[in-house]
């Protein structure tokens, strides 16, 4: 296990470095300058030069990159041009909000999708299966802002049951103190990811149900409920774990649309604003966070795999 972890961490470092190189140089290939974008079109050449000097933008790209890597290694991602705050502070504010929102909705989606997928597989070809399939595809094909608006229209505007705005507190504790405000955004994002998970679960459960060991479990006299819970569920979860690992980066990348509809500034909006204003430090900082999340996500998936399936335990045996 140790050797395995060492290897994975080595891989992670390489991937994150690669992400940094690519993002850094690609951002600088985009036409237009940060100074123009921050100071406005009427800024004088003098002010632009001052801006560039202040942020080190007058140096050659390679030097800038080395400086960035060196600073990033110390946890300093620079200061946002437009917001005049350290990028690390901004991310520290925004990241937990998205972690909470998207983490909750992913968990909820899984909690619904796993049983739903198995149920569909068991009832394959029957009406219930078809109904859920249609529902999945409808959900899958609808854009999230549409859900958000429909939910707001029904639950906030029409019936005044739930607030249309997400909690505005700064801290996670503060947000959790107002759970009502979280309901609509969480439900919106759950519906978005539900379809994908349940389709995978259905396909995977179908494969599992066809395995001999399921028939063996039945031949022992196990009730179907236990057959499904003990022998089908765990064996069917593996493909879903892969998808889950792959969705880790999207949890930290935020959900721009949901964030803006529910007025819940998170990573998504932060990155969007940075991209439009050429705020390099924020863009680099968030990309790095997403890169790390990607690597961690796949590591998490592999570890979860090995816990679920004894055949892939990474031991030195």
């Amino acid at each position: 296990m140790t050797a395995y972890l060492v290897r994975r961490i080595g891989q992670a470092v390489v991937v994150v470095l690669g992400v940094m190189v690519l993002t850094f140089f690609m951002i600088h290939m985009v036409p237009g300058s940060a100074a123009r974008a921050t100071l406005g079109t009427r800024a004088t050449a003098e002010r632009i030069a001052m801006f560039n000097a202040a942020y080190g933008l007058d140096k050659p790209l390679s030097t800038q990159f080395l400086t960035f890597v060196e600073q990033a290694a110390r946890g300093n991602f620079g200061t946002s041009y437009s917001m005049q705050q350290p990028v690390s502070t901004l991310i520290a504010q925004r990241l937990p909000r998205d972690g909470l929102l998207l983490g909750l909705s992913t968990l909820l989606a899984l909690a619904i999708a796993l049983p739903m997928g198995i149920y569909q597989a068991v009832r394959r070809g029957r009406i219930a299966d078809h109904v859920f399939t249609v529902v999945s595809f409808v959900l899958y094909s609808m854009p999230d802002f549409f859900f958000a608006l429909v939910l707001i229209a029904v639950f906030s505007v029409q019936f005044h049951l739930l607030p249309s705005e997400a909690p505005q507190a700064e801290s996670v504790g503060g947000i959790l103190a107002d759970p009502q405000g979280l309901v609509l955004p969480v439900v919106t994002l759950t519906l978005v990811s539900l379809a994908g998970f349940s389709r995978y679960m259905r396909a995977s459960a179908l494969t599992t149900l066809a395995q001999d060991y399921v028939q063996v479990a039945r031949s022992k006299g196990l009730p179907e409920r236990l057959v499904l819970r003990r022998h089908v569920l765990r064996n069917s979860m593996l493909p879903v774990i892969t998808i889950l690992g792959l969705s880790a980066p999207s949890i930290v990348a935020g959900a721009v649309i949901a964030e803006s509809v529910f007025n819940y500034p998170g990573m998504g909006l932060l990155f969007y604003q940075a991209a439009t204003s050429k705020d390099y430090p924020i863009m680099l900082g968030s990309t790095l966070v997403v890169g790390v999340a990607t690597v961690l996500g796949s590591l998490f998936a592999d570890i979860a795999y090995s816990l679920l399936d004894p055949r892939i335990r990474y031991v030195d045996a």
């Binding site: 050797a3 001999d212 009730p223």
Partner: protein, 693 residues
């Protein structure tokens, strides 16, 4: 007192998109305490479905219909509510399934899986259930059962997994055990061990057993009575002895005649059963076997025969036969010249002496274990082949036999150049294949073709058969498009497929027909040598005979050489002039088919032969003990000295110290053993005679 199990008029229908399949159609039988009943037949005959129906475990769309009745100790099971049936399943009637590799949940420990049944039916604490699991695992011969409760299925070999499955079925001491092809997925050596175990347990626990199998040899040795099934019905039902000695149904007769026999000398053409079983969505009106029966008359085609005859021997036939078919078939359905291997062998050994087609010397192939390159880890390799040499003459068939994991498939891949040896050479007509690269190698590949085991996965499902057969010609740039089409038609005719087969996709063919396509593809480039890796093991008995006959016929007409790799010694005996026996990456014995079968010198060869079930109850009953004990050691760390010593009844200290060198027993017959069963020729090392072992 009612019989232990009484099945009467059992009829199972399965609704599918194509219509209702009458999988089991009016099957009746009884089973007494302590008795083993064989359900025998080819795939799709309804034997497994009968077992599943008794268990009440039907597939999707399946239902037991009509006045079907299954009584266990007088109690009717058909129509019982699911909750009551569950109390019977795994408790009073238990089942062992075919494939031990897939029948255990990979994510649960074996202790958990065995204890699960105990907790379910007997209650008690987890600790008590674990105790019981350990006890039964010990009973089925799992070494150190208590320590292994926490093992996962993938940590066990196939044979041990089958033992675990048997333990799972027996843990509640059921009255009836249904074993559905319990040894089909296992090596013959392990098969013999498992069958002995089942017989022993049945006697000790006073169980009754239904043994479902397609193997006439297994049937002969391990059943008391037999029901031969055909197309969802019982064709014949008799005691095992009378059935084999004096069968009345022509199907039983043909089935038995079409099995290649290990205990008989070389025969001519194998009798085949032409055609295929009927479609059970629309069974024919008369006798279901009529279309394939050589004795069929108009009456057979219109009126369906009922089971008749004395209570001890019943058969459903209008024109019952009397006993087995005479050894030499009078008429053979295929117009291929009959060539006895003896003749071929004579020709072949002359050819070998002259100039071999293919020669392999000291082939070594090792596969590194994944991840073992990492620092701090021992470098470990799978020793797949450790110095194997052989020669194949023009027109000769060399059979390679051995248990799974002995390296025979690796050897086949090296011979046709699909893989390269780590050391050693493969020489084709004097050219070292290892030195060829690129275009030259590609051109040489023409001469070496391969025929695969699985006719379902070895043909691209999205290519028409015509394209599959043309592809090798296109790759080699042989002929114009129209010439290639002509060649395809010619190939199809040669393997006995209709010309329009070229326009069809592989899934439109039966398994046997697909294997014919596989053979045609191998023939397309008029190769000198075809390596056939388990060419018929995926096929049913009757179809197997057709393909074997075809392979032999084509060999004669094309002057082909074959390397036939198989775990089935009877198949190899039927096809091969010479046989090589492999064990754990080594060739332990090579000789003519007769040398191997009649005068085996290596104890492993003798054990392997003994383990093969022969379709003759008298021969089978006379056997005592399994042929080879234990299981194949890990190829990661083969035993020192003679690799077979850990399982050899004759092993002595010398065997662990010194690796035996091949010794000569007769011309062309060598074996590597310190204590051979035959006397070697004095002072004649094979190196001197120039014939490598």
């Amino acid at each position: 007192m009612p019989p232990l199990l009484e099945v009467s008029n059992l009829t199972t229908h399965i609704r599918t998109r194509r219509g209702v399949v009458r999988a089991v159609d009016g099957v009746s039988f009884t089973l007494e305490e302590g008795e083993t009943l064989g359900l025998v037949g080819e795939s799709g005959c309804g034997k497994s479905m009968t077992g599943l129906s008794v268990m009440g475990l039907l597939p999707r769309g399946g239902s037991i219909v009509g006045d079907s009745s299954v009584r266990l100790g007088g109690r009717e099971l058909v129509g019982l509510p699911e909750s009551d049936l569950r109390r019977v399943r795994g408790n009073e009637i238990a089942m062992v399934f075919q494939d031990p590799m897939s029948a255990l949940d990979p994510t649960k420990t074996i202790g958990h899986q065995v204890a699960e049944s105990v907790l379910l039916h007997r209650g008690g604490t987890r600790a008590e259930a674990a105790d019981r699991a350990a006890e039964v695992l010990g009973l089925v011969g799992l070494p150190h059962p208590r320590e292994r409760l926490g093992d996962y299925p993938h940590q066990l070999s196939g044979g041990l997994r089958q033992r675990v499955l048997i333990a799972m079925a027996l843990v509640n001491e059921p009255k009836v055990l249904i074993a559905d092809e319990p040894t089909t997925a296992l090596d013959v050596t392990i098969q013999a061990q498992i069958l002995d175990l089942l017989a022993d347990l049945r006697a000790r626990l006073r169980m009754a057993m239904i043994l479902i199998t397609h193997d006439m040899g297994v049937t002969a040795g391990h059943t008391d009575r037999v029901n031969v099934m055909y197309a969802g019905r019982i064709a014949e039902s008799a005691g095992t002895g009378p059935l084999f000695r004096a069968m009345r149904h022509p199907y039983t007769q043909s089935l038995l005649a079409s099995v290649p026999r290990l205990d008989r000398g070389p025969t001519g053409q194998l009798p085949t059963i032409p055609g295929l079983p009927p479609d059970l969505t629309d069974p024919p009106s008369g006798c279901r076997f009529a279309a394939r029966c050589q004795y069929a008359t108009d009456r057979c085609r219109t009126a369906e025969p009922e089971l008749t005859g004395p209570a001890t021997h019943r058969y459903a036939c209008w024109h019952p036969t009397d006993g087995p078919r005479p050894a030499e078939p009078v008429d053979t359905p295929m117009d291929v010249e009959v060539v006895l291997p003896a003749q071929a062998a004579a020709v072949a050994s002359a050819a070998v002496a002259e100039r071999p087609v293919l020669e392999a010397r000291d082939l070594v192939r090792e596969f590194p274990v994944r991840g073992s390159w990492l620092p701090g880890r021992e470098r470990r390799v799978v020793h797949a082949l450790s110095g194997v040499s052989l020669t194949i003459g023009h027109g000769e068939t060399l059979g390679i036999v051995g248990e799974s994991g002995c390296g025979k498939t690796t050897l086949g891949r090296l011979l046709v150049g699909l893989d390269r040896p780590d050391s050693g050479t493969v020489t084709l007509d004097g050219t070292d294949l290892g030195r060829l690269r690129g275009r030259e190698l590609r051109q040489r590949r023409r001469d070496l073709q391969m025929m695969f085991q699985d006719p379902f996965s070895s043909l691209d499902p999205r290519m028409r058969v015509g394209s599959i057969l043309r592809e090798p010609l296109q790759i080699q740039g042989l002929g114009t498009t129209s010439e290639q089409r002509e060649r395809v038609a010619e190939l199809l005719a040669e393997v006995g497929l209709p010309a329009h087969a070229a326009d069809l996709y592989p899934h439109e063919f039966s398994g046997g027909q697909r294997q014919r396509v596989g053979l045609a593809r191998a023939l397309a480039l008029t190769p000198k040598l075809i390596v056939a890796d388990e060419p018929v093991s995926a096929l049913d008995v009757s179809v197997r005979a057709q393909v074997l006959n075809l392979m032999r016929g084509l060999q004669v007409s094309h002057g082909l050489s074959y390397v036939v790799i198989s775990h089935d010694l009877a198949v190899v005996r039927y096809l091969a002039d010479r046989i090589g026996v492999m064990y754990l990456g080594r060739m332990v014995e090579v000789g003519s088919a007769d040398d191997i079968h009649l005068r085996a010198a290596h104890p492993y060869t003798a054990g392997l032969l003994k383990a093969v079930p022969v379709p003759d109850p008298d021969v089978e009953r006379a056997k005592h003990g399994a042929g080879v004990r234990g299981e194949l050691p890990s190829p990661l760390a083969p035993p020192s000295g003679c690799r077979f010593r850990t399982r050899c009844p004759l092993a002595q200290d010398l065997c662990a110290l010194e690796e035996p060198t091949p010794r000569l027993f007769a011309t062309g017959h060598t074996a590597a053993c310190h204590f051979p069963l035959q006397t070697p020729l004095p002072d004649a090392s094979p190196a001197l005679t120039g014939d490598p072992a």
